[in-house]
């Protein structure tokens, strides 16, 4: 198996186990590349990539841009604020205008679920989904899987708890698909109001007690409360949320095993996770960021290589 089964990366749901393993294996090679004195390879020197961010992003945008530049691609950046989107241009029109400037690949983040799939059907370029609403964020799931594999040696048979705002999280959904395909067990934990009603249908365990979840898992992936997506109140106060679902050092120390702590960022210190936990040895949050560049290089490389 030496090529991806898909032309676009729209979500983890449409990837096979072999695709994911190929991406993770290729990421290993790129991790070696980005630790060289000269961190750049010429593979994509004739490719132009447009980064279209219709929604705010720090890590993902920088990470994609860096990955593209490390592969020698030409990069153009676009963010919705300050663009003609504000004047009422449609998504297809915006993208087709950008493609008319001879762009080969599009990396897109959009506030609406399905935006990347929609684009893949209507425009002639390779599309990479960098997050679409509360649907999927495939490269985050891939880099999370890569980081777990790097830390624990394998993913198969490991127990991963995803804790926090599951309802509004694209990271949660992509992680569930990815980890299950690689043979891990997944549990989601959070207040009942922030857990989608039919999530059990995906074959994940549901737990509302944080301590029980932590005692069960090998890895805890902490998610941020996405206040900006919450149209109504899902819990009485942030303070109460922190008391019930915030991970702190004394809670972690009271559990008899060492759990790996992950966070996709941005962290709300003192809400879902305290500073002493985020900066502890158990946390691999900054490793996740480093691995993100390698994994995104692998995705861009493998997709660009597809005819």
């Amino acid at each position: 198996m030496n090529k991806l089964s898909t032309k676009h990366l729209l979500g983890i749901k449409n990837l096979t186990k072999q695709d994911i393993e190929l991406i993770l294996a290729t990421a290993d090679n790129f991790k070696e590349v980005i630790n060289r004195p000269i961190k750049k390879v010429p593979s994509l020197r004739d490719i132009t990539i447009a980064n279209l961010f219709f929604e705010n992003s720090t890590r993902t945008k920088l990470s994609f841009e860096l990955a593209e530049k490390r592969l020698s691609a030409d990069v153009i950046n676009f963010s919705a604020s300050g663009s003609s989107v504000k004047k009422g241009e449609t998504l297809i029109d915006t993208v087709n205008n950008i493609l008319a400037m001879k762009v080969d690949m599009v990396v897109m983040r959009h506030a609406n679920a399905g935006a990347a799939s929609f684009l893949a059907k209507h425009v002639n370029a390779k599309i990479i989904n960098a997050g679409d609403g509360a649907h999927e964020h495939p490269t985050q799931a891939l880099l999370d899987a890569y980081s777990i594999k790097q830390k624990l040696g394998t993913i198969k048979g490991k127990k991963v708890a995803i804790i926090g705002d599951i309802l509004h999280s694209r990271v949660a959904l992509s992680n569930i698909f990815c980890l299950q395909k690689l043979g891990a067990e997944v549990l989601v934990c959070g207040p009942t109001t922030l857990i989608p009603r039919y999530i059990c249908a995906l074959g994940v365990k549901v737990e509302t007690n944080l301590r029980t979840a932590l005692e069960w898992c090998d890895v805890a992936n902490m998610l941020r409360i996405q206040i900006e997506r919450q149209d109504i109140k899902y819990f009485p106060s942030l303070r109460e949320y922190t008391m019930l679902y915030g991970v702190n050092k004394s809670l972690l120390d009271s559990i008899k095993k060492e759990i790996v702590i992950m966070h996709p960022g941005p962290i709300n210190r003192g809400v879902e996770i305290t500073s002493d936990v985020a900066d502890s040895k158990q946390a691999i949050i900054l490793e996740q960021v480093e691995n993100g560049v390698a994994v995104r290089m692998a995705v861009l490389y493998l997709l660009a290589g597809r005819n």
């Binding site: 090529k3 290729t26 090679n29 004195p37 390879v41 010429p42 593979s43």
Partner: protein
Amino acid sequence: MNQRVILSSKQLDLTITRLCYQLIETHNDFAKSALIGLQPRGIYLAKRIEQKLNTILKDKKINCGSLDITFYRDDFRKKELIPNSTTIDFIIEDKNVILIDDVLYTGRTIRAGLDAMLAFGRPQDVELLVLIDRRLSRNVPIQAKYVGKTIDSIASEKVKVEWREIDKEDKVWIMKND
């Protein structure tokens, strides 16, 4: 498929021994030299040469690494190219580097290898060692300094070097489709 052996296991061993002594003539004790095998199949030849030099030079430490050139190839997108690992755990700055590959054919792999190597520093000089030189098929102006065996072959023929580490035994074949 018409195929015949052009180097047997015994001949291959003799050839490698000869190449080692040629290398020693230029590089003495290898203090400022480094062997770099090209992935995927040049690494076996590099390892073999390292082992033999170790025997001849009585366990002198020799720098030996492997270099993957996938990201530097000029035929990306003509076919899917899956990378191998690169291991160069020494500094190549100011070293005399010997690039090692099994077969020299169009020369494009070596061209990519030169590019890939420069990401690790600026060597003092670079030489090329190959086991088989298919001298009539070059696309770029690249020649080897050390050659195991030179053969005249045409494009429809294929040369395959087998190593006991991954194949059954050491052997070099030339194959031709009927």
